[in-house]
């Protein structure tokens, strides 16, 4: 990659450059430390996942993935993401519309509340639903009387997933829409567009890459969530086991190959997410507000 900045780091005057950048040995040392750290903490775990998954050959790998329990875990994970991600998209867009396009009392407080799930332990995110819907919960008796099952079933898993992925889309769109201002929308409205036309033809195209960026992160977390889902799922094999929970069960049964086979699918998802995210940042960096700082 041609980088015009590169020149300024080359020593152009010995004594001055010594004060503007680190000396060659220090630079080398810092780079070695950084590479070693990234290698040990990020690269090695990733390699281990695939290494263990294929430890007994590709036959065992595909066999592990073909088991009915694994397939139902994959189906459930896809189902949960397919429900919770769109709901958080709708929320993210409406919250961003209200917060970015208008000035109103309590706006800062509302923005803070949206980030709240990030500072709550995943286990607590699951616990709050157990306290609400569980047999001893506030609504437990009422739900039982009406035959509604939320906990230890798909609705509970979906709720817990929505809780932990709640801020992703909104916090991506809010700064982006704030940065873009209201000019385009005001122009569209003054030219006779109605509200929904303005949204679909003006606002949405303006924020589409930022939205995709948020959805990408939201989806990765939705499919990978462990703690919150673990608390509300009840771990019923073939019924309420998502892929991350299935990984745990297989691992605890000392079925390492199968555990890592399922884990390799999730690691693959993470890699695809990272690649798409990097491509978005490279091509549409200016159209994604909060590129950093997730």
């Amino acid at each position: 990659m041609a980088d015009p900045e590169i020149k300024s780091y080359e020593p152009y005057h010995e004594s001055l450059s010594a004060a503007v950048t680190e000396s060659r040995p220090v630079r080398a040392a810092l780079m070695i430390v950084a590479f070693a750290f990234l290698g040990v903490f990020l690269l090695l775990p990733l390699i281990v996942v695939f290494n263990e998954a294929f430890a007994k050959g590709i036959g065992t790998y595909t066999e592990a993935l073909a088991s009915p329990d694994t397939r139902s875990a994959i189906r459930l994970t896809l189902l949960v993401a397919a429900i919770s991600v769109p709901l958080n998209i709708v929320f993210g867009i409406s919250a961003a519309w209200a917060i970015a396009k208008f000035e109103f009392t309590g706006k800062a407080f509302l923005t803070t509340l949206i980030d709240l799930p990030f500072s709550v332990s995943p286990v607590i995110s699951g616990l709050v639903y157990v306290l609400l819907f569980g047999a001893q919960g506030l609504l437990g008796a009422w739900l039982k009387a009406h035959g509604i099952v939320i906990l230890f079933a798909v609705p509970g898993i979906v709720l817990a997933t929505i809780f932990v992925t709640f801020p992703f889309v909104a916090r991506e769109l809010i700064p982006l829409m704030q940065e873009q201002g209201n000019g385009d929308e005001e122009a569209a409205l003054s030219l006779g567009a109605n509200g929904s036309q303005t949204f679909w033809y003006v606002t949405l195209p303006n924020v589409k890459w930022g939205l995709l960026y948020g959805v990408l992160l939201c989806n990765a977390r939705a499919m990978g969530e462990f703690g919150a889902v673990s608390v509300v799922s009840g771990h019923i094999r073939g019924l309420t086991n998502t892929m991350p929970l299935h990984v745990e069960i297989l691992y605890n049964e000392y079925n390492a190959v199968a555990a890592f086979a399922v884990a390799s699918l999730l690691a693959g998802l993470a890699l695809v997410t990272l690649v798409l995210k990097t491509l978005l940042e490279m091509r549409y960096g200016a159209e994604i507000a909060a590129v950093r700082g997730h």
Partner: protein, 283 residues
């Protein structure tokens, strides 16, 4: 309701030609209330219903205290490690040009994208006595997997991107001219780093530390595999909540969760104060 002035000159919202305020805000508030606020207040309400004496008895139970100490202690240690190495990583990514920089940069976000359970079993396999790293540490007498040290390792993995991604954009904004001016005025590289660069980066470093710490305190998925989960020794607070829940001991689970939330909020408050102090101190 949206435009009704409560008193002369005060409006709930500023006038705007853009439509949809009521609908969008109404939906957002309803969704936020149903998904986040009601369930969270349920936790606080259940905790309050316990009564002070019962609540306190659960909190000062030795197992609870130990679990909280391990969670906060390990998260603190991991955040310190991440501040040191995360800042170095960010510096190398921002200032140096080398082949593969893009890939290294993208890799930093791996802990955000990789499900915690996957990270947990991968780290455990790496650091187990027969694992690639565990095997190397064994002759040195260092045991990582199934010890509190393992918890720290898992939390270092989880917290790294928080520090790097907070410090990196601030480093990118540093005006190189400032360093050049300092150099022409006779400052050494060491002086420039400690007197000019570090004060500017300090608020971001503190924020990154706080984010990594807060995330580490609540982390569950990556830790439970590597921790060994011995009560009093390597049992983290989120795991103790799960254990109490499985025992149908809802009051204990509730009380531990509430004290964890409270401690996290106090901590974030302190960090915010430190941050605003450092912003005032160093501009």
């Amino acid at each position: 309701m949206t435009t009704a002035p409560a008193q002369a000159g005060w409006r709930f919202r500023q006038p705007s030609v853009i439509p949809g305020f009521g609908l969008m805000l109404g939906f957002s508030l309803a969704y936020l209330t149903l998904i986040i606020l009601i369930p969270l207040s349920g936790l606080v309400w259940r905790s309050a219903a316990l009564g002070w004496a019962d609540f306190w008895a659960i909190v000062i139970d030795r197992r609870t205290i130990n679990a909280l100490g391990i969670s906060f202690g390990a998260a603190f240690a991991a955040a310190v490690v991440n501040v040191v190495f995360g800042t170095i990583v960010a510096w190398v990514l921002v200032r140096y040009r080398f082949p593969g920089r893009r890939i290294a940069d993208a890799m930093v976000d791996l802990p955000f994208a990789l499900p915690t359970a996957v990270a947990g079993i991968a780290l455990t396999t790496l650091y187990a006595p027969n694992g690639w790293i565990g095997k190397l540490l064994m002759p040195l007498g260092i045991k990582v997997a199934y010890t509190p040290l393992g918890i720290v390792i898992a939390l270092v993995f989880i917290g790294l991107p928080f520090v790097v991604r907070t410090v990196q954009p601030i480093m990118e904004e540093i005006d190189k001219e400032v360093e050049e001016v300092a150099a022409t005025l006779g400052a050494s590289r060491f002086q420039i780093i400690t007197r000019i660069l570090f004060p500017g980066l300090a608020p971001a470093i503190i924020t990154g530390f706080a984010l990594a710490f807060a995330r580490g305190v609540g982390e569950y998925g990556s830790v439970i595999f590597i921790a060994g989960n011995l009560p009093y020794k390597s049992e983290i607070a989120p795991l103790l909540i799960v254990i109490r829940l499985e025992e149908y001991n809802y009051p204990a689970a509730t009380a531990i969760a509430t004290i964890m939330l409270a401690l996290s909020f106090v901590m974030l408050l302190v960090v915010n104060l430190v941050q605003s102090w450092s912003r005032k101190r160093y501009g």
